[in-house]
Amino acid sequence: MSHISRIELQIKSLEDLKAACNELGFQFCEGQETYRWYENTRGIDLDALSPEIQQMSRCDHAIRVPRCKFDIGIVKQDDHYELRWDDYYTGGLVKKVGKDAGLLKQAYTLHKIKREARAKGYRVVQKKIDQGVRLILSA
């Protein structure tokens, strides 16, 4: 071994996020400006909600997950994108995207690494490991 690192993921590529959504059977809604969560799905018109709730409901794109009442909002922040979503159980998202949207982040990371590593000439092997996935890159 030479060194070990831990990396805090930042979503920087919409293309890879779209590919991850496609793989998981989610619908990427490009340009959708609001996403559904608890406060804005109670039958109250969005304009009638408080400015804070209206602001929290805004996004640049959204992800629709089949059989879920809530969506995932995608908000651009400087050089990356933030995922915003409500994990309240009635929305059904936790079962589909995992805790902290881990399964969506995992699918995104796999796409991102495989695409970029192959472009750099690495051979990439994917293996299932306990509670995750392993990629082995060799030159």
């Binding site: 030479s2 690192s5 990396i7």
Partner: protein, 65 residues
């Protein structure tokens, strides 16, 4: 054999390990992955990191007797 091993957990956490590199080459080779994915929050260097790829031994002769 030189390898970069990336584990991505079901919670979306990313752990990266380089194998078979000597010296700082491991940092150079894996830099692109860190740049692609986000911020490095932890790094542990292993003994192989401190080995140079080309180690030279200099021998000095005692010329003064």
């Amino acid at each position: 054999m030189k390898e970069i091993v990336v584990d991505i957990s079901d919670q979306g956490e990313v752990r990266l390990e380089t194998r078979g590199f000597k010296g700082k080459a491991c940092l150079r080779e894996s830099r692109f992955l860190k740049d692609l994915l986000g911020k490095e929050t932890f790094q542990q260097l292993t003994p192989a990191y401190y080995q140079d790829q080309k180690s030279t031994t200099r021998k000095y002769l005692n010329l003064c007797g």
